[in-house]
């Protein structure tokens, strides 16, 4: 690498500032704590110079200069706060307010409006304008985007975030000069990805959100930073919560503080699709089947029945209960479920909806460290190879990272897909292949030249493929991202190719919020947490107790076993295999079926007992995103009379007469010993408990506290031994996938069923979101969308 370029020094308000060449003056000022007010400037987007709020005095320049477009130069002397500058700011604000309505009391931005703040700090107390204001009615551009034209200050941030950031280009400017207006792409409405980034970035209340508008005010809400429960990317979302009749209601999602791996990015699902929580169909009472009908019952009744029936089946028929785990429950819950199945139900018949071949991935990377890329790496890598998947639809954050890496860092993107995916617009090389030929790509890259026969097409010649392979081989620190199309034996082939590239890292794309966590926590009939084989469970025998050593049966086989009467019980935790995996609902008519879910789904409606659960926004725990970044969930919403899956599993174990201390090691470990064990000084313990509560953590004194099992996970699951203090304070921690046992590449690939969600769907959960449904319905009313070219 070349020597780092020489730093440039300048003076701002008498302070000495040194910054790398090319830094904008406004950014250089920030480094020494000098704020230059700005509206149109937004880091990482093209410069606009539209608002002239950032005017500063630079010596030897005749007029005031805009700090947001001026690049620093040696020995510059800048004044940001003299009378001339102050007058200029005042004038700019007066101009902006010239036709600005006095809407603050009803405006959604009130209290967090940049124009309010600026007027407060820099504005004049009164206006010289006497003219009547020019009013325009508010417009609804889409189910979630509203535009109030008089409030717009024409900073063009929305236009840039939609075009440059999202690559959608749905917003534009109409007319010129004082009559400019922001306009949507379809005359009076928007056809776009509905991400809401424009609403979020708008400094004022001109763009407002259909989900949040007029509901409350920013200071009235509690703001809880947690993790999105939809796709596998793990965006941090800050949920605004207010009191409601049935508990705590979530009214807003955004990430304005830019904490987390996603900065301020959220897609439509993270931003609006929290409303399933108050869907009227939400179950709020356990249901028990009596005389063929599901009737409301008490929790005690339900637990007693489950405990009795599960114990009977286990004791009489041995391995005849099947367990289906979830891809949206926390790592702690998945781990507990894995442990519960093996210790309490004494069976290995446990599985989940697999959306990627993580076991094969673990096996292929066995013994290697630092070979998995984090979500942050995707934004910083010099080159990316993307095989299969359509991240724009299925992994919106990943697509954002790739897009902006290409735009800001000039990363090279090599995309290989059987569809002309939207990310091809960012690609240095895009190769379209016949559908289903992804495995051949892996073979070809790994050196099998004959595989190229199946790959050539009009756009991708044999030579083209060879050149691509050569180019990839010369890359360094390449990030290789592949979808579920690469599975089974193709996966180690691709990994072998990648391992030969210095510093190359991998991302294996799984679809749901905690798909990766479900796999890592061993929701497999043949694998324990950390991809340890059940056959050689080693330390799990010591830590857990006796585990059955024969692998159990996988999901599809459970339905068959139920039909032949071999499977007598089924325990489904937050999954919908009937609808999503084509389970035959009648197969289980003779079995005892227990389902934990928020709604009466297709699977829940065949159950004998249905237990209403809290969703991921209503509990604490951790999620692992598809890259392997471990992040903390914090409880935001609350719906009374539901319970987290964690508590339910523990209670069922208790109802079956199992010693719950053997399941959840509560009251021990580092976090528990914050005074509690020092009996006499119990005041100390109380203070810690108060502190922990205040930080959204619960003191580890209850078997229902998911954090009680975190120590055990960190000890037993390879790669999860990340810094706990960092994790608990809300930072993402990359887990290093290093399989200590060999994992298992021999899984039947047909067990993997990709979710195939698009931007507006999210498995079974998405069906219960009003916001997503309204957007989908609205699309059906509109003619089909055509892709807009980037200008």
């Amino acid at each position: 690498m070349a020597d780092a370029p020489k730093e440039i020094s300048l003076t701002v308000d008498g302070k000495k500032v040194t910054s790398p060449p090319g830094t904008l003056l406004i950014e250089a000022c920030k480094t020494v704590g000098i704020e230059v007010p700005s509206f149109c400037y937004y880091p990482n987007f093209s410069l606009q110079g539209a608002c002239r709020m950032c005017l500063v005095k630079i010596e030897k320049m005749p007029k005031l200069q805009t700090a947001c477009t001026t690049v620093i130069s040696e020995a510059m002397t800048v004044t940001t706060n003299n009378e001339e500058v102050r007058q200029a700011r005042k004038a700019m604000l007066e101009m902006l307010l010239g036709n600005h309505p006095l809407d603050c009391p009803v405006c959604d931005a009130g209290g967090e409006c940049e124009l309010q703040d600026m007027t407060f700090s820099y504005g004049a107390a009164e206006s010289k304008f006497m003219e009547a204001k020019n009013h325009k009615d508010e417009q609804q551009w889409s189910p979630v985007v509203y535009f109030d034209r008089p409030r717009c200050i024409l900073c063009y941030r929305c236009v840039r975030v939609c075009g440059e950031g999202m690559d959608v280009w749905a917003l534009g400017v109409q007319n010129r000069g004082v009559v400019s207006v922001i306009a949507p792409n379809k005359e009076d409405h928007l056809e776009c990805e509905e991400c809401g980034m424009c609403i979020d970035i708008c400094p004022v209340g001109a763009l407002t959100s259909g989900a949040y508008r007029y509901k409350t005010r920013p200071w009235e809400m509690k703001h809880v930073g947690t993790i999105c429960t939809h796709c596998g990317d793990g965006c941090k979302t800050t949920l605004g919560v207010r009191r409601a009749e049935s508990g705590l209601q979530i009214v807003r999602g955004d990430n304005r503080d830019k904490s987390g791996i996603n900065g301020d990015f959220l897609c439509i699902k993270g931003r609006y699709a929290f409303d399933f929580a108050d869907n009227p169909e939400r179950l709020k009472q356990p249901l028990v089947r009596k005389d063929g009908r599901l009737l409301p019952a008490t929790w005690e009744e339900a637990f007693e029945l489950i405990g009795k029936r599960f114990s009977e089946i286990r004791d009489k028929d041995g391995q005849s209960i099947g367990v289906v785990g979830s891809t949206r429950t926390t790592n702690e819950e998945n781990y507990l479920l894995s442990k519960f199945a093996r210790l309490v139900l004494k069976t290995n018949n446990i599985d989940h909806h697999r959306t990627a071949d993580f076991p094969a991935f673990a096996a292929a990377l066995a013994g290697k460290t630092d070979r998995t890329a984090s979500m942050r790496d995707v934004f910083n890598a010099p080159a990316i190879l993307l095989i299969g998947n359509n991240p724009t639809d299925q992994h919106p954050l990943l697509a954002w990272q790739i897009r902006n890496n290409v735009r800001l860092h000039r990363a090279r993107l090599y995309a290989i897909n059987c569809q002309p995916i939207k990310l091809r617009r960012q690609a240095t090389n895009f190769m379209e292949i016949p559908s289903g030929a992804e495995g051949k790509v892996a073979a070809f890259l790994a050196g099998d030249d004959t595989a190229a026969d199946a790959l050539t097409s009009a756009t991708a010649s044999r030579d083209g493929w060879r050149q691509l392979r050569e180019k990839l081989r010369t890359e360094q620190n390449l990030v290789i991202i592949f979808g579920s199309e690469i599975r089974g034996n193709d996966l180690p082939t691709l990994v072998k190719f990648g391992l030969a590239i210095p510093g190359a890292k991998f991302v294996c794309l799984g679809d749901y919020a905690n798909s990766r966590g479900a796999a890592d926590m061993g929701l497999y009939p043949d694998l324990l947490p950390g991809y340890h084989r059940v056959a050689d469970a080693g330390k799990f025998h010591e830590e857990w107790g006796k585990i059955p050593s024969a692998p159990g049966i996988a999901l599809p086989a459970m339905a068959d076993a139920a039909k032949t009467g071999k499977l007598k019980g089924l325990y489904v935790v937050g999954a919908n295999p009937v609808a999503r995996l084509g389970f035959d609902p009648f197969a289980f008519s003779k079995s005892f079926v227990v389902v934990q879910d928020m709604f009466l789904t297709e699977t829940a409606s065949i159950a004998d007992v249905v237990l209403p659960v809290a969703n991921a926004y209503e509990k604490s725990g951790t999620f692992t995103n598809t890259c392997g970044d471990l992040q903390l969930l914090k409880k935001a919403g609350e719906v009374s009379d539901t319970k987290p899956d964690f508590e339910i599993i523990v209670r069922i174990a208790d109802a079956m007469g199992f010693d719950v201390r053997k399941l959840v090691p509560f009251g021990t470990g580092t976090r528990a010993d914050m005074g509690q064990s020092r009996g006499a000084q119990s005041g100390e313990a109380d203070r810690h408990a108060v502190w922990l509560e205040a930080h959204g953590l619960e003191p580890k004194m209850s078997p229902f506290d998911p954090m009680a099992i975190l120590d055990e996970i960190q000890r037993l699951v390879p790669g999860y031994d990340v810094s706990q203090i960092n994790l608990l304070s809300g930072n993402d921690q990359h887990t290093n996938l290093m399989s200590q046992s060999a994992g298992s590449a021999a899984h039947d690939g047909s067990l993997i069923a990709p979710a195939n969600d698009d931007l507006f769907t999210s498995g079974t959960l998405g069906r219960y979101s009003r916001a997503l449904n309204s957007v989908i319905e609205n699309r059906h009313l509109q003619p089909a969308e055509t892709e807009v070219a980037a200008d």
Binding site: C104, P105, V106, G110, E138, R213, Y214, K215, T216, R217, W219, E220
Partner: protein, 176 residues
Amino acid sequence: MAVLKNIAAIAKGMSITFKEMFQPTIVENYPDGPGPLRGAKFQERYRGAHVLQRDENGLEKCVACFLCAAACPSNCIYIEAAENTAEHRVSAAERYAKVYNIDYNRCIFCGYCVEACPTDAITHGHGFEIASFNASNLIYRKEQLLSAAPAHLGANEVFNSADVAGGAPALPVPGS
């Protein structure tokens, strides 16, 4: 000498006492006085129980901006906002207060809410007979705080009980 001085001082003091003894009393005869206020008299600026005002069309002035709640030092104002629609218009602006409660267990009658209100919706009235045997009665809901609606809108059961008894159409009090 000292004795004389003390006697003079006492005589001076008692002279005021005796003079006042024969003046007419100025204590108010509440609650046995005449009129609807039963003898109570107020300064105009007296800060009593709040009244939520209406505009000239009878619409509620409150736009649920939450500024009063934010200004309240004892945190006793609870609001839930909702959006006005063409079919259901409650205030003149985009939003209105679906729920507006003041907890008189906590209110200290400081008047900060009145000061904060951008639409002059919340004001202090002269109501002072708030005492109750039951603390939960002290949480006043919007329906109790709202000023009387103009006749064409119907009467408010809480405030216009006489009108309602006299046959005026009663405005229902939601949730009561």
